[in-house]
């Protein structure tokens, strides 16, 4: 049987009414748990995996796919509506998405996120089915030096995309980088900045920082405005649905986000966040509406959300082709596969085609179910914003702490949540952007470790950082991204730059 036959057969199995129901239940459960701030897809899948054991292999595989996509998607809803990203990969979504929600455009923001996720999931799953073996070859070419170059690129593009003041953006970033140093140094096993506190040995959990800085910092900041703000946000202004204009501005970011997110997700050390960062930076540079960035640009939601979902499918590339679990979620999925007698590895496509294609078909169906579930719910979700502030924010704090307690029930973790919440509040008061702190915490260790690995492997020869073609290209792009705006600015006011500058002040 050829590739298409297997896929078709898988789809036929997955499309049976009972299996569709399982997909719907899986997506619902995944979304319900994934929506909690602090509970990312990994924990969602780990918690819900036992549910699938009760079913026959086909049904359990499809429910599992539903949980996976539901968990991935759940985080963006709270990001957009409440400015509380549930996990690190939906932080960028909060930047523009929440501004849109505040302006009564939560409906289109959620819709572009849901449809973008669907489009990205569809393309990426098909890519997984047909070009996985080639993608994985590319991913393996990436060694420490290439990753280091990628991190440099991410730093350069991301730092230029945040905030209106260079001083404040850099300060935020360096606060994040400082936090990133805390804990055991991975390469030598020595502790840094832990001051003998055992709870700090593993460093600061990204989700704890993100939930604290966004959810708690935001709550404190809103509360400190006293009675000045309106008691309720206007939930819907204009249509709850996407306008023709929204569609026109969304489809390109969806595709770009997919093409950025999928290969990065496929890289063993890529990670979903980096795809979302790069996608956001790309959209900000390419948009025809630069003045809207920072005030609720739909491109800034569409691109990163697509990138996020595409990289989720990308994670499956090394998992299915090499048996490499590259994220915690993938590691749990690996455990799940073993329940079905599936041993991921280079021979999987050859020895177990039915199950692999069944899984891919399940992913397609689950992806579709996600859309079916979420589009009608958008009207309901935006109504969350009409809950009076005292109850709304009390509820946000309840669920934010629930996520943290559920992931790690320690008093120390809650203490950190409070401390970083206060930090987030103070930073808001003084106009510091929040996202670069989290970006620093995520990218800092990756960049440092890869640099040190590269130098260690080359026994201290610095030239290796530039001599690999891929690394060289990435570094040149990073240099251009850094220098070109400076030159343009120095040469006076290019038309585009004037516009950009206008948006930045």
């Amino acid at each position: 049987m050829g590739t298409f036959d297997f896929l078709l057969q898988g789809l036929l199995v997955a499309a049976q009414p009972m299996n569709l129901l399982y997909a719907l239940i899986g997506v619902t459960l995944g979304t319900a748990v994934g929506v909690l701030p602090g509970i990312g897809p990994a924990l969602t899948v780990a918690l819900l995996l036992p549910v699938t054991y009760k079913l026959d292999p086909g049904g359990s595989l499809i429910m599992f796919a539903g949980i996976y996509y539901g968990g991935m998607y759940g985080g963006s809803t709270t990001s957009i509506l409440l400015n509380t990203p549930g996990e690190s990969s939906s932080i960028v979504t909060a930047l523009e998405g929440n501004k849109m929600a505040r302006a009564g455009r939560g409906g289109p923001a959620l819709a572009t996120a849901a449809i973008g996720s669907f489009v990205a999931g569809l393309i990426a799953t098909l890519a997984l089915a047909f070009i996985a073996p080639y993608i994985v070859k590319l991913a393996l070419v990436f060694g420490p030096r290439e990753y280091f170059a990628l991190m440099v690129l991410a730093f350069v593009t991301v730092s230029s995309a945040f905030g209106d003041s260079t001083l404040r953006g850099l300060t935020s970033l360096f606060v994040g980088l400082t936090l990133a140093c805390i804990g055991i140094d991975q390469l030598t096993g020595q502790t840094r900045l832990s001051f003998g506190v055992p709870d700090l040995l593993d460093g600061i959990e990204v989700t704890t920082l993100a939930v604290a800085m966004f959810a708690i910092g935001e709550t404190l900041f809103i509360a400190a405005q006293g009675d000045r703000g309106p008691d309720k946000v206007e939930a819907v202004r204009g249509s709850v649905w996407m306008s023709a204009m929204d569609w026109a501005r969304s489809w390109k970011p969806w595709l770009r986000g997919t093409f950025i997110g999928f290969p990065i997700g496929a890289m063993p050390a890529g990670g979903a966040e980096i795809g979302t960062f790069l996608s956001y930076a790309a959209e900000k540079r390419l948009t025809k509406h630069p003045e809207e960035f920072g005030n609720g640009a739909i491109e800034g939601v569409a691109g990163p959300e697509a990138a996020n979902n595409a990289s989720a499918a990308g994670t499956l590339v090394p998992l299915l082709t090499l048996g490499l679990p590259t994220t915690a979620t993938a590691a749990i999925m690996l455990a799940g596969f073993q329940q079905y007698g599936l041993q991921p590895g280079p021979l999987l496509f050859a020895t177990n085609p039915q199950l692999v294609w069944g899984l891919i078909a399940s992913l397609l169906i689950a992806n579709f179910m996600l859309l079916v579930l979420n589009l009608p719910l958008i009207g309901l979700w935006v109504r969350l914003l009409t809950i009076p502030k005292p109850w709304l924010y009390a509820g946000i704090l309840l669920f934010a702490t629930l996520g943290t307690i559920g992931a790690n029930p320690s008093v120390f973790e809650l203490g950190m949540l409070l401390a970083f919440g206060l930090l987030g509040y103070v930073m808001r008061v003084f106009g510091y952007p929040i996202a670069p702190v989290v970006v620093g915490l995520i990218l800092g260790p990756l960049a440092e470790q890869q640099l040190r690995r590269a130098l260690s492997i080359s026994q201290g020869d610095i030239t290796v950082l530039f001599t690999s073609p891929i690394a060289a290209v990435l570094l040149v792009i990073a240099a251009l991204a850094l220098i070109v705006p400076l030159i343009l600015r120095a040469r006076g006011r290019g038309e585009v730059l004037a516009q950009l500058a206008a948006s930045e002040d």
Partner: protein, 164 residues
Amino acid sequence: MNKGNNPSAETRRPDRAALIIAVVLAAIAGLIFWDVSRLSGLAGYSQVGPTTVPYAIAFCLVGLAIWTAAEALRGDFGHEREKQEFGPVVWIVGGLAAQMLLLNTLGFSIATGILFAMTACGFGKRRLWFTIPIGIAFSYLVWLIFAKLLQLSLPAGPLERLFF
């Protein structure tokens, strides 16, 4: 650091809050220098060891502190700071602290119910005799769903043990 309520937008006087921020940044840099200096280099074959990056970050923080101080002295630090009301902030911080301290003894529902009520209080719902029971009831429902049905481990207290 909380002295952020002076409307400094139009003043050209040195910005006290910004100066404090500069001092804090410098202090963090000092902390890094102090902590990292006791590490052994142990770089192995790479000339970038476990101490290199923290030192670089500390140097940059010193630079940012100087930059911030310079802007503060010139009165350029800018950014309109809205007047902050600290009453609500204290209520919410108190709620989070109470939850943290009571969680392991009183269990999830009671501790989180108190957080819920104190947050609502910070937003103007002052009737604690009314909001605390609501908070506890709601938290209990949440606990039932997540701890009992979804097997998330949330600490149980007297209230939870009463029924399970």
